[in-house]
Symmetry: C2
Subunit: 428 residues, 2 copies
């Protein structure tokens, strides 16, 4: 591409009607001339051939992605991660801001993904390493999406739970329990103080524990737990399934008494979540399998913050995400950003409840709370409740006791003195 041709892929912000564009932030490692690589990067993700042979026309005006600005971060001796490629020249780590016209694909999630992290993005000559860092949407584009149906406030209202975190628990053993035993454990955990007993993300509709049978039992157990405790409870059923089964799964499980649904957003696809959002009668809660495969590395793939935004756009009322602590192999700053993306203003979309998870228990609650910096989060232990030496009721109680200690500003050890459930966790 020569200098004249390149020009069509660069623009100043004030030359464009920014309501027509998404703004994309990428980290790139460019080999060779940077301006040429950036022009190719825009061309490959939009109109790679911008006129017919022999016709005087230029589709770049309306349809080209355009560089708004870029910054060279540093010159590198070699690519941060080795990749086979054919470019020659100096290697530069760059950050680039691109305006991508959404008229190229419309308000459709699969087509949006195709444009911003598709063939163009990852197969640009001279750019072997790419990480999509962020997407910003104009309000007019956001207005085409429904977003969360319930959001944080809707979940709080269902539970009558205000001014505190929402307490989830993943029923364990996660795989292998008969619906009867499963139901009994969930029941115990509700009695102990859980708001939401949930299926593991790996447990869905299987021959030895169909969602139909499980929700039948759990729906009844939930009502019983509500009567015994006087508190509202949620059974969060995992309806992750083939997309043409999900509406039926919704109907059966909700009729049986599941009052929130778990969906593994990327395994089913974001647009399956959006489809379900249009239909659902209960909150939708997303889990994160598959996402680490393209978001863990610092300099390649897609930043998890982008994924959080897209999940909120698709309509998840709560988003379970890798949380704090090096066990989850996610930098603390990144966890914070993901939490913020659930809560930040985003057109008129409701806020999603962030649920940062990972090997939690009564012992980690204060740390998570301090790091989140507010009560607007979900806390989701598994073995920390269902592996409690005194059983799941005690496990759930230990979580509530830990929260009471935090609220009252009392040291966990002191608060545990008269509370054997919490004490058992401290002794572990």
């Amino acid at each position: 591409m020569n200098a004249e041709e390149r020009k069509g892929f660069f623009a100043d912000r004030d030359q464009l009607n920014m309501a027509d564009y998404l703004e994309l932030e990428y980290y790139l490692e460019c080999v060779g001339d940077i301006r040429t690589a950036l022009a190719h990067f825009c061309s490959e993700q939009s109109t790679a051939q911008w006129n017919r042979v022999g016709v005087d026309e230029d589709f770049r005006t309306l349809y080209a992605a355009k560089v708004l600005g870029w910054q060279v971060l540093e010159e590198l001796k070699e690519l941060s991660y080795p990749v086979e490629h054919d470019a020659v020249g100096k290697i530069h780590a760059c950050r680039v801001t691109i305006a991508h016209p959404h008229r190229n694909f419309g308000a459709k999630l699969p087509n949006l993904l195709t444009a911003v992290c598709g063939e163009g993005t990852y197969f640009t000559p001279g750019i072997p390493l790419v990480k999509l860092l962020d997407i910003s949407f104009p309000d007019s584009y956001l207005a085409e999406f429904e977003g969360p149906k319930f959001g944080i406030e809707g979940i709080r209202e269902m539970l009558g739970a205000y001014n505190r975190p929402i307490f989830f628990g993943v029923v364990k053993p996660n795989i292998g329990l008969s619906p009867e035993y499963f139901s009994d454990l969930a029941f115990q955990s509700w009695l102990g103080g859980l708001d939401i007993a949930k299926d593991d993300e790996m447990l869905a509709d299987v021959a030895w524990s169909t969602t139909s049978r499980r929700t039948e039992l759990l729906g009844k157990a939930r009502v019983l737990a509500e009567k015994e405790t006087g508190d509202k409870k949620i059974y969060l059923a995992n309806i992750t399934d083939e997309v043409d089964k999900m509406i039926e799964q919704h109907d059966v499980t909700v009729a049986n008494g599941a009052n929130a649904l778990l969906v593994n957003a990327f395994p089913v696809g974001l647009s399956a979540v959006r489809m379900l959002r249009k239909h659902t009668k209960v909150p939708l809660i997303g889990h994160f399998p598959f996402i680490a495969a393209f978001s863990r590395l610092e300099k390649y793939g897609i930043h998890s913050k982008v994924i959080t935004k897209l999940q909120r756009l698709a309509g998840l009322d709560a988003i379970i995400m890798p949380g704090f602590g090096s066990r989850m192999m996610t930098p603390e700053q990144e966890v914070r950003e993901n939490i913020e993306e659930c809560l930040n203003e985003m057109g008129s979309l409701k806020r999603s409840l962030p649920v940062p998870g990972g090997s939690d228990s009564a012992l980690t609650l204060e740390n998570v709370y301090r790091k989140v910096g507010s009560v607007d989060f979900g806390f989701v232990p598994g073995r920390g409740i269902f592996g409690h030496p005194m059983g799941p009721k005690a496990g759930a109680s230990s979580i509530r006791q830990a929260w009471e200690a935090i609220e009252q500003g009392v040291e966990l050890e002191a608060y545990a003195e008269t509370r054997p459930e919490l004490k058992a966790m401290l002794g572990k």
Copy 2:
């Protein structure tokens, strides 16, 4: 986990009924004790807590993923790619074979993905880097999938095209053309000898070129081209869309005369492809946006071979994939493996047509053919046809001429002497 506890996550092949298991191959970088890390790896991806508190039971027998074998490849000074983690000890690159019981999730693609590349896989203590290298399925599991409806033979029959590659062309300019101009270019390319004129993977149903209007025109143009040439032709329409629109998109576009459909498999989700497979009247052809985000790096993510297998399982009749040449940043061996996975025996599933692509033209055909090693492939230029200096009809002719030269064993230069279309490409 102690030595006794670890045992439940290791097995010999002859102790298991292998028809109950998928076999998974992973590349891992383990920090600390390898056996412990591998036991955790299996536990996290299956039954992480294998008994209820105080109950003498062991769910590992039926539900645990189990290490069948492993190999230390080398000791490393540091992780191949830096990742935050909390494990301590020596670092080893390992290859491990795991038996994962499919009763945990059943014959469902989203749940399969959740099990083999979900939270368990990527969040195991002591294993910061993971690449899923391969999956093997027992025949009884494969039998639950429909696979390609048409396969290579079905596509050949539709076209009456045997003993040669199938010639695709991506209409360019890919973004911005009105349906009328688009149709005219496709028509020209059919006259020049293309089998299949296709939408770009980024061009789907947009306000300025609805699939309804486009297929209406293209359907007519196709019939006209068939009359003029006496050959059967295919218009491959891109119906990548929100999943709850795809069946309608199928019905409208096929009624209008699209006789094959393009789907961006990962942006819509594999199970949306499978849904469409049950419904479709025409071949389904997959494109690869998003896949590079998790498959390019040698030591992290998911090997593209796995993706190819899953796409075939979901029912794609042809799979467009990154092809040969360092422009596509995919090692030659990996491209070969992806081609083989389209063709290898896989239960009773039909073979998918492999379509290795990337900046192709009359000049690259022989190289691709030699590397594929058979005529069972699709060849898919874009600008190599629609950017041809004499126009798209000549562009398509140049491809057919290049194939004639190969068939006749004549040098391209010699064959081009009396063929201006081919000659124009050589002069480029």
